[in-house]
Symmetry: C2
Subunit: 249 residues, 2 copies
DNA sequence: AAGTGGTCTAGACCACTTG
DNA sequence: AAGTGGTCTAGACCACTTT
């Protein structure tokens, strides 16, 4: 069982369950609580924070709702590991016309380090000129190149990232962020529009330049709610849809 | 205060707070609990259902999370009325490039009653040939025609709907559904893709036929989780984005 | 059998809104 | 002052998983 300092609730702002929640978030972000490792049980955690079990549960329940923790009846509570199936599809929302999701084949087509443009800096919360990594992927579905991703990330956060890391990884890139760099992606904002494919995307996707493509701009955030990845996805949506499912009853 | 029968919990399936929730949902759907009207307070409701206040609260909290109820500290609990600002933007997700939302101007360009195609029947849970209403709207943002909506709804659910109802209404069409027909939209599934504008959409939106447009297909559900509206929106996304905001911490 | 989370209770007290 | 929801407690008992 993880041994952690007797975090004092009174040192944090806000009401009790929010304090507990924010302490848990920072411990997850710092790596003190590792993905896949079992949490202390509720009574122990409640005692550590000096709150009742009910209050502890409320904090944990919110983190479960935010997909940061997972509880399993009879087994325990865990930091959600990004290799879990359903987690992948929290961020990968392309399905075929019948609504079926498929794990994409990923090919890295470019990797470089560069100085952040003003736009990159703004989105990622950096200074213009700070180092960023830029990478480009082509994702295939049903053996057809379907998505062209351009990704920018803060080089400092991902110090030591190499082309090898990326090409030799198993699993998603978000899993790599989490396992090698301790950066856990918790949520993302996306903006979508239709546009005409530029020359590069058209070539990579094997379509005519100027064809209608779906453009998805995504900013992904860590558990601490800091922007850490900026991504433009160009999608040939002639065979797939972007699916947005609202939470049903 | 609303006077309702002493609904017996034990007659419903599932565990207590789920029973309470499903009874509340059916009472909202049936119109026994009206939008904007104050709920009985927690202790009274709990007594009516024969559960503790904590259990009642849990049911209500889930309905609040699903945007069906609204609680206001010190004032009371209400069925959410669809004319509330933020509710509009639960379903209208088009923002300008700076992320600003604007209330669209709506113009009805077609209205008819027809027999459901097999596709309409399938989506809406009808039989092929059942009566449906079809309507088309053009939505303008910043005085530019931006969205062309094609909407199909079950004619039986909206019996008595006329062109007048639609053109003379104040507020959103979902508010009309709720106020005139007692149909409260609670959530929706959406699928997006890029495509080339067809002749009709191009004309209505004042763009070239074949221009890249965003196609949004939406199925909207009632509080009882029954599909009740099918809508295809064609969006000229040269000035607006579809914004998908994930719930942050 | 032991340990975990899931549900439920019956209170207490606080914060906010309204008359 | 009265009424509402918001937070918190300290238990009880159940359901599920593991040993």
């Amino acid at each position: 069982m993880t041994q952690l300092p007797a975090a004092s609730i009174s040192a944090q702002p806000g009401i009790a369950y929010r304090k507990v929640k924010s302490i848990l978030i920072s411990e997850i972000a710092s790596g003190a609580l590792q993905p896949g490792v079992k949490f202390p049980n509720e009574t122990a955690l409640a005692k550590r924070f000096g709150v009742s079990v009910g209050t502890l549960r409320r904090a944990v329940e919110e983190l479960v709702a935010e997909n940061i923790l997972v509880r399993q009846h009879g087994r325990g509570t865990f930091v959600r590991s990004l290799d879990e199936e359903r987690f992948l599809f929290q961020f990968f929302k392309l399905a075929d016309r019948d609504g079926n999701f498929e794990y994409p084949k990923v090919e890295l087509v470019a990797f470089s380090q560069a100085q952040a443009t003003s736009q990159e800096a703004k989105v990622l919360g950096l200074q213009s000129g700070d180092a960023v990594f830029r990478l480009e992927n082509v994702l295939s579905l049903q053996d057809r190149a379907t998505v062209h991703d351009r990704i920018s990330i803060d080089a400092k956060l991902f110090e030591g990232l190499t082309q090898q890391c990326l090409t030799q990884r198993a699993g998603t890139i978000y899993e790599l962020y989490q396992r090698r760099f301790g950066v856990t992606i918790a949520c993302a904002d996306e903006r979508l529009r239709a546009e005409d494919a530029d020359a590069r995307s058209a070539e990579l996707l094997g379509i005519a330049p100027g064809a209608s493509v779906l453009r998805i701009e995504r900013v992904a955030f860590t558990v601490e709610n800091r922007p850490c990845e900026w991504r433009i996805s160009i999608v040939n949506s002639s065979r797939v849809d972007y699916v947005s499912r609202s939470a049903h009853n």
